[in-house]
Symmetry: C2
Subunit: 353 residues, 2 copies
């Protein structure tokens, strides 16, 4: 068996109490004692017994993630990337990362509850937040730290890591506006996702700034999938009234669908239609070979480490300001935007596929 506090106390001549306090860096232990204790601990190859610590203190050193049930979850390659990213960062910080994959009939909130009082997890990473997310309310009511990937409101009072998605929407729209586009379609994600609505607001704001009234029929909500991208494009392009001359894709999968639909319609990018996309650089070989597309870019992969750090910060009671991070995105020009062709400036008859 491993050495215990008692062993260290014995070899250093201190009490168990003081050894514990020394190792936990309390402030009523002299620096010299702390050093002596640390040395002894190392020499004895001491490893704290997590169960004991947990039982006594309520803290466990374990953090968790409840994966939403199949279906309500992002694509597998993203899940794997996320799990890898979180796991790596947490283990770097000496925390155990437990993963609970919720089953379809399971109540996700209840799962958190069970994990808290069964295993006394110290905190949770919450992904895929929805407005008024019940998980947030529950965890706060139980006083359990959490961190959000994304956020549910502009200035929330919980730790999070997020992009400025309103700004993403604005920038994407402006990229098209600046080239003269006025009818700008937005193939967006599911409206219950917070970031989707933020981007939608950005789109509307940028349009209004440019004196264009956002047309509801030029925005399509749906899953972040290729088929949604394709179907939404077909719908927008075959509607009566003026067709969009520029399209915004919520992510690369949607962009892929857009490209498919456009080529089916015999429309070229950027000659006939301009396309911009927010690229979160999802892994997946099917996205490797995509036409170069202008837009915003912000690798999702870079959000896991900050997310993990924010959670640990929250557990350690650091001030909220340190725990709220807004990720950067870049704006990239890759030639998928051109000025709208003259024939697209005015209404033309509906296009039929």
């Amino acid at each position: 068996m491993s050495a215990t506090l008692k062993d260290i106390a014995a070899t250093t001549g201190l009490s168990v109490t003081q050894v514990s306090r020394a190792l936990n860096d309390h402030d009523d232990v002299s620096a010299e004692t702390k050093a002596r204790v640390r040395d002894a601990a190392r020499a004895l190859d001491y490893r704290p017994n997590l169960s004991a610590r947990r039982l006594a203190s309520g803290r466990s050193g374990i953090v968790g993630l409840v994966l939403p049930p199949e279906g309500r979850t992002p694509r597998d390659s993203m899940v794997v990337q996320m799990v890898r990213g979180l796991s790596a960062e947490f283990s770097r910080m000496g925390r155990l990362f437990v993963l609970h994959a919720a089953e379809p009939e399971e109540d996700v909130v209840a799962v958190h509850g069970r994990l808290i009082d069964g295993g006394s997890l110290d905190g949770f990473v919450l992904i895929e937040p929805v407005p008024d997310d019940p998980r947030i309310a529950y965890l706060r009511s139980r006083g359990v730290p959490l961190v959000l990937h994304g956020r549910t409101e502009d200035r929330p009072n919980y730790p999070f890591f997020d992009l400025d998605n309103r700004e993403v929407g604005r920038r994407l729209t402006r990229m098209l506006l600046e080239r003269g586009h006025r009818r700008i379609g937005f193939v967006n994600g599911l409206p219950e996702m917070c970031y989707v609505m933020r981007r939608s607001e950005g789109w509307q704001e940028a349009l209004r700034e440019a004196g264009v009234a956002p047309a509801p029929e030029l925005q399509e909500f749906g899953a972040m999938s290729e088929s949604h991208g394709a179907l939404a494009t077909l719908r927008m392009m075959s509607e009566s009234g003026p067709r969009p001359t520029g399209l915004i894709a919520g992510n690369m999968l949607i962009a892929k669908g857009i490209y498919g639909a456009l080529s089916m319609l015999g429309l070229r990018v950027p000659e006939d239609v301009s396309v911009v996309v927010h690229d979160d650089q999802l892994p997946g070989e099917d996205l490797m070979a995509m036409p170069a597309t202008s837009g915003t870019r912000s690798p999702l992969a870079e959000s896991w480490a900050p997310l993990a750090r924010a959670l640990i910060g929250a557990i350690e009671n650091r001030p909220l300001a340190e725990l709220q991070e807004t990720g950067q995105f870049e704006v990239v020009e890759r030639g998928s935007v051109a000025a709208p062709g003259p024939e697209f400036r005015t209404a033309s008859e509906p296009f039929r596929a």
Copy 2:
């Protein structure tokens, strides 16, 4: 806070000891008392405090999986399926499932060590075993229970869940032999994987039983990928000497590659070449739309629950015999096998793509 044993003891008028024993189904508690205690526990919504239980019993109730670093790992959709399966089963058994995604420069064996004494994990699931797997030796030397997905030898002395892969190889080969094929190619996986070699042995045995000498040039080892399937097929089909009339695919991805290569060569299935496959029903939409293929079938998805149960059994010191399970597979006929055409019965000149 949640109810404790003490609360149950108070309401039932029993001692904490007896309540504990009742709930754990010890045999010196009367059936009537057990029932009473169970009712009280339910009424109070009692949940055992895992930390206390662990502290007292020396176990942590936490099991782990170290995911091999990126690259040495199966495709993402399988990883997710596995994680979901294991997580669900473990949480059903009241265990926490911690996942550590190893990074490329990390020593996987050392990681297990750190997890054991940092988190006092109770046991590990080991996937992707290789012959003489160092993880097995290490965990055994530290006395930590483990369970293998697969195995490194025929009758190992550790818990495992595996198919009879030798039999899989035999059956696949026989499906072709029975229809009259004699030159049977095997597009197999990586030779360092144990199951790959077992299937290879099965192939050889079945051939020998039928009086056919296994030709080394008719077996190709490589990653379980579409491109390996395609390239191996092209190589076998364009070699001088008699070409195979039947092909065995190690899994569906390989089969997909085989189909691609065959159609490139203008060869039809089953008229020109027969194909059989071992289908572990990997998820992934790219495999949904595959030509119907005869062969063996055994859903990988069904292995996670038994795997988890075996690990828990090992932790609870159950006899080894209960912890070694060989999964079933079925043999399915789906019309991709026919008798070899006469022109293939004898040597023909090498085929050039």
